[in-house]
Symmetry: C7
Subunit: 75 residues, 7 copies
């Protein structure tokens, strides 16, 4: 993984991140862990694909090959 | 796999997990095993893709590359 | 492959298993062999995708990357 | 490849096999060779996807990652 | 690649081959080279996907993972 | 990665790049990092898929296997 | 990559090539670099998918796994 990507993910541990997955699914949650394949662990995750119907997911593991974009929360 | 992911899966052994697969399929079952590719074994699994028509699947093996999200049961 | 998955497949040798493949195809047959990629050999296999038009396939080899779920027959 | 799969393919050399490929294409032909990726060589192959319009293909090489199911001819 | 496949491709060097690619594209051309991933070089290639509108492509490189079937010209 | 590609990406560090992703998504942002898989880090990124509704994304990590084209800003 | 493919690409350096990508996108540009995964660098590239609306892209990096066909310019 790009060194710059690892740095961003490490700095985002314990903070909110936004994920855009394949198939137009969007998730938001607190980053608890990650690996080089961009497998991610989020806490207090929400499925925000439909802003009018946000679904609470709790703690989740996201398989990296579904990830398109990871946005760390603004600092 | 992210260390945090392995930890969550190990803690979830014998407990209910929720899976979201590609193609909008959702499964629920008791986690019996997993590997680093996120291949999973579930017991007493249900296909809950259609909440109005839940299908009992019994024990199943799920091939990891279909997995999008794994949610452990709330603790 | 997860140790739990290998154990289930070994115990299922010679017994009926149900496969769900990508593209909504479902197969049923007697498990004759498998490998770590979930390539499978089934005997007396049926294509049960359409329950009203079950097709006999005889002995088949299924390429693992099409597999979504393997259900062993209830014990 | 599963040992049982290799055995079936070896026993099928020179005999008719039926292939189901991704995208609902079906082929039939005499198996002349195969490898561990399920790349296959068929002789006197026919495209039987549309039973009312069978197309003769002659000798063909099929790239393994398109293969879903291989059925050897009944013995 | 299956030994039988390599043999067919070697014998087809300098001769016409027919390719069927994913997405229902068909090509025809003189085989100039190939590798183990089924990357191919064709000379005097035509896109024959639409028989009523054949397009001349000249020399082309085809990336192997788009290949479904290779048919050598009848001998 | 092609040496010419690495050179372009290194020269683009800190400058605007345009990305075209699978699924007709287009992004624009300042390149902060990259790796050999074309995983990218962009700062001040915008989703410009719909030119009439540009969305600010801030800093993002883009998973390389979604990338189709990278255009560095004109020099 | 097939030796014949490498030779063609080397001979095409600095010359126009035509690319057909997955999803019916066509590009044209001057080949500046390539690697064994068919990642390509083009200069003065145009998106010619719609011949009535050619878009200038300037210098671009194309990720190899989107490539279907590369046509060097006629010699």
């Amino acid at each position: 993984m790009a060194e710059a990507a690892t740095k961003i993910l490490e700095e985002s541990l314990g903070k909110l991140v936004l994920l855009r997955l394949r198939g137009n699914r969007s998730l938001r949650g607190r980053l608890q862990g990650f690996d080089m394949h961009m497998n991610l662990v989020l806490e207090e995750a929400d499925d925000i694909s439909n802003p009018e119907n946000i679904k609470q997911l709790g703690t989740i593991i996201v398989r990296g090959d579904n990830v398109v974009i990871i946005s760390p929360s603004p600092r």
